[in-house]
Amino acid sequence: MNMIQAINSALDVCMGRDADVMVMGEDVGYFGGVFRATAGLQAKYGKTRVFDTPITEIGIMGVAIGMGAYGLRPVPEIQFADYIYPALDQLVSEAARLRYRSAGEFTSPITIRSPYGGGIFGGQTHSQSPEGIFTHVSGMKTVIPSTPYDAKGLLIAAIEDNDPVLFLEPKRIYNGPFNGHWDRPAENWSKHPGGEVPTGYYRVDLGKAKVVRPGEALTILAYGTMVHVCAQVIADEGVDAEIIDLRTLVPLDIETIEASVKKTGRCMIVHEATRTSGFGAELSALVQERCFYHLEAPIERVTGFDTPYPHSLEWAYFPGPVRIGQALKKIMKDA
C-alpha cells in the first residue's frame, strides 16, 4: 500500500470495529478527499458516519469536540495543515483542555488528520509544518508517520486514544519515500519495506520512536519526509549514523533518544518546519540536558529557514541532501 491507501485502510478498520468512529471534513464524503484518503468510506458506512462539511475549520473542530463530548470518536480532517489556524482556538482552548478543566467529566477522543509538509511546490499555504505550535499545547498529542505501515498502525492507535491527537501526514511521501533528490525519478512504496501493510487491524503504539537505521557515528532525530532524506544523505556520504524516526512528538520517546546520543556522542536534528521555536529546539534542549557529558560536538539543527515557505525557491528552502550533507560534515569534523 502507499500511505494514502494505508490511511484509508486504518479508517476503514476503525469504522468497521467501532460504530462511534465518524469521519468528517471538507470534501471527505462523496468525493473521498482531495488526496483520496477517505475514498469509498461514505459508500461503505453511510452519510451519517462519513460526511462533507462546510468550509469552516472552526466549525469542523468545534463540532468534532461536541461529538466527542457526546461519546463519539470523530476523525475530522483539515484539508491542509496550513489551514488549521482558524481551528486553533477550538484545539488549544477546548479539545486539549476539556479533560483537565472538567476533571475528566468530558473528554475529546478526537483525531485530527491533516496533510502537512513541503516538497511539492505547494508554496506558502500548502507546505507548512506547524507541529511546533501543537507540541507546545499541553493536553494534545502529535503524531507524524513516515511509512505506510506506521501510518496505518499509528492512525489506529490515535483513533483509539482517549485524548486529542493531531495526526500530520507528510503529503510528499503519500505516494513514495521521497529521498530529497527532486531531480531524480520518483520512487513508490512498492519497493520499500514500509509499504508492506497488513489489511487487518494492528497498532503502532503512540509514544514509541523507531530506530530505522542503527549506527555508531552520530544520532539523527527526524520524522516524516526527513527520515527518508536523511537516510539517503548518510548513504551518499558513507556515514554510520543512527537514524531515529520519532513517530510521536508528544509524548516523546525520550529513552530511545537518550540511549542513542549517549552511545554516539553526536546529535543532528532535522525538520522541515522553520527553525526558531520549532520542535527541534525542544529536542536540542532535551538532548543537551540529558546527554551533556556525552556530547562531542554541538547539536546541529537542519530545518526550514525562518521565512514563509517559498514557491520558486523550494529546493533552496527544503532541508535536502545539500544542506543536510553540509551539516553532517560539520558535526563529524572532529570525529
Binding site: 451519517t48 461529538m67 463530548a69 457526546y70 485524548d163
Partner: protein
C-alpha cells in the same frame, strides 16, 4: 495625505463608531426602545419553514402584559405549581448570586459573576427542556444548574476551589461542569460552546437518539467566528439544537451596538442562515418558557434548529472585577422598560390569585437562610487561599488520560522542590 484627496469634490468618508445613548451621569430615557405589546406576536407551527420568520425576528414574543396577565398565543398555560417553582428558582438564583458576590467581596474567593435581571433566561429555559437535554452554557446561565436541582454546595465548592470542588481547583470560579445534570464544562473562551453544541446535537441525531442540545451566548459573543460556523453547521445538517442569544445590552463596557445591534436584531441573524428566529422578552419567564418549548419541539421533530434572542438587561456589573458606573448611566437598570423578571412573574401569580406579598417575603427570607446554610456547609470544605485544598501533585492530573513521562518528571521535580523549600504547603 488626510484631507488632501485629489478628487476633492467628493464628500469625505466618515467612519461610524457606535456610541451608547447614555453615559455616566446622563439621564436615562428608554422611550426609543421598541417594545411591542404582549400577546401580539403570532405563534407559528413548529414545522414552519425558516423562510417565514422575518416578522418574528424583528418583533418580540411577550406573554405577560403590564398588569401581569398572561395573554396571546404564546401563553404556555402553566399550572400554578409550575409557575411557583419558576418563581422560586429565580429567587433562589438571585439569593445565591447575592451571597456569592458578597463572598468574593469578603475575600473568600477570587471572582464571581451575577445573572441579576437575567434569571428568567436560564430558569425558564431549564424548566422547558427535558432533564437529559444537554446544555452548553456561557458563564451567566448558573440558573440552569439551580433549576435542575444541582446542589448549591457543589456550586459553592467550585467557587471556593475547596476540598469539595469536583473540578479539583483547576477552574476559575463559576466555570462549572456537571455532566450528570446536562451541563457542559464552561470555558473562558467565548462562544466556543456554540459549534460544540451543534456537534453534540448532530451526534444525537446521527445515533438516532431523542435528546437535543441547547446553547447560550451573550449578544457580544455573537461577533465571534464560532457563532457563524455554528449557525452554518446547524442549518446545513438541521441539527436538533437551540441557540440562545442573551441580549443583555452590554458586553463588559461595550454596548450591543458593537455587536451590530444598531442595524438589526440578533434574532434576525437566523434568517440568513435558514434558521427559525424568535425574539423574546427575556424578562418574561412565560415567554422564555414558551419559546424554548416551541424550539425544543421543532428540534425533536427534526424540523431543525432555532435561534432565540432573549431581549434583557444586565442589571449589574459584568463581574466582580467590573464597575459599570464607569461606562453607563446608573439610571439604566431601574429605567429598563421590561422591568425585573422576578417582579413580573410574582405579579402574575398574585393577579391569578396564586401568590401574595406575604408568601413572597417569607420565601425570600427562607431562601436567604437556605443559601446561608449551604454556604456554611461549603465553607467547612475551605475557602480560597486558606490552606492547600488539593494535593500538590494533583496539578498534573487529567492533562492526559495517562500521565506521560514528561509530566511525571515535572511532577516529581515540583514535589522535590516544594519539600526542599520549606514552604508551609504540606504535601497531602
Amino acid at each position: 495625505m488626510a484631507g488632501e484627496h485629489p478628487r476633492a469634490n467628493l464628500q469625505p468618508l466618515r467612519l461610524h463608531v457606535p456610541e451608547p445613548k447614555f453615559r455616566p451621569g446622563d439621564p436615562v430615557d428608554f422611550v426609543g426602545v421598541d417594545i411591542p405589546p404582549a400577546g401580539a406576536a403570532r405563534r407559528p407551527d413548529t414545522a414552519e419553514s425558516a423562510h417565514d420568520f422575518t416578522d418574528l425576528a424583528y418583533t418580540m414574543v411577550r406573554v405577560l402584559d403590564e398588569d401581569g396577565r398572561a395573554v396571546g398565543p404564546w401563553d404556555p398555560k402553566l399550572s400554578p405549581d409550575m409557575l411557583r417553582r419558576m418563581l422560586r428558582n429565580m429567587a433562589l438564583l438571585r439569593a445565591f448570586d447575592e451571597r456569592m458576590f458578597r463572598a468574593q467581596r469578603q475575600g473568600k474567593t477570587s471572582f464571581y459573576m451575577k445573572a441579576t435581571g437575567e434569571e428568567a433566561v436560564a430558569i425558564a429555559a431549564a424548566q422547558a427542556l427535558d432533564a437529559d437535554d444537554m446544555c452548553f452554557p456561557s458563564y451567566r446561565q448558573q440558573g440552569l444548574l439551580i433549576a435542575r436541582g444541582y446542589p448549591l454546595v457543589e456550586m459553592m465548592n467550585q467557587i471556593y476551589s475547596n476540598t469539595g470542588d469536583k473540578l479539583q481547583g483547576k477552574q476559575l470560579p463559576i466555570m462549572y461542569s456537571a455532566r450528570d445534570f446536562g451541563f457542559f464544562s464552561i470555558s473562558g473562551n467565548l462562544t466556543t460552546q456554540y459549534p460544540q453544541a451543534v456537534g453534540w446535537a448532530m451526534a444525537s441525531a446521527a445515533k438516532g437518539d431523542t435528546r437535543i442540545a441547547a446553547t447560550w451566548c451573550g449578544e457580544g459573543s455573537t461577533a465571534e467566528g464560532d457563532f457563524h460556523s455554528a449557525c452554518t453547521f446547524a442549518s446545513v445538517y438541521r441539527a436538533p439544537v437551540i441557540f440562545n442569544v442573551v441580549n443583555n445590552q452590554w458586553a463588559i463596557s461595550s454596548f450591543s451596538g458593537f455587536a451590530g445591534a444598531e442595524s438589526t436584531t440578533f434574532a434576525a441573524r437566523a434568517i440568513g442562515y435558514g434558521i427559525a428566529g424568535l425574539r423574546v422578552d427575556g424578562n418574561d419567564a412565560l415567554a422564555v418558557y414558551a419559546a424554548t418549548l416551541w424550539a425544543a419541539e421543532r428540534a425533536r421533530t427534526n424540523a431543525g434548529p432555532t435561534l432565540i434572542e432573549h431581549f434583557t438587561y444586565r442589571a449589574e456589573g459584568h463581574s466582580t472585577s467590573d464597575d459599570p458606573t464607569q461606562y453607563r448611566s446608573a439610571g439604566e437598570p431601574t429605567a429598563w422598560p421590561l422591568g425585573d423578571p422576578i417582579a413580573r412573574l410574582k405579579q402574575h401569580l398574585i393577579v391569578i390569585g396564586e401568590w401574595d406579598e406575604e408568601r413572597h417575603a417569607a420565601q425570600d427570607r427562607e431562601l436567604a437562610e437556605y443559601v446561608r446554610a449551604q454556604q456554611k456547609d461549603a465553607e467547612k470544605n475551605g475557602i480560597l487561599g486558606h490552606g492547600l485544598h488539593q494535593p500538590l501533585d494533583s496539578l498534573f492530573d487529567g492533562v492526559f488520560e495517562e500521565m506521560p513521562w514528561h509530566l511525571r518528571e515535572q511532577q516529581a521535580q515540583m514535589i522535590a522542590e516544594e519539600e526542599a523549600s520549606g514552604r508551609p504547603w504540606a504535601r497531602k
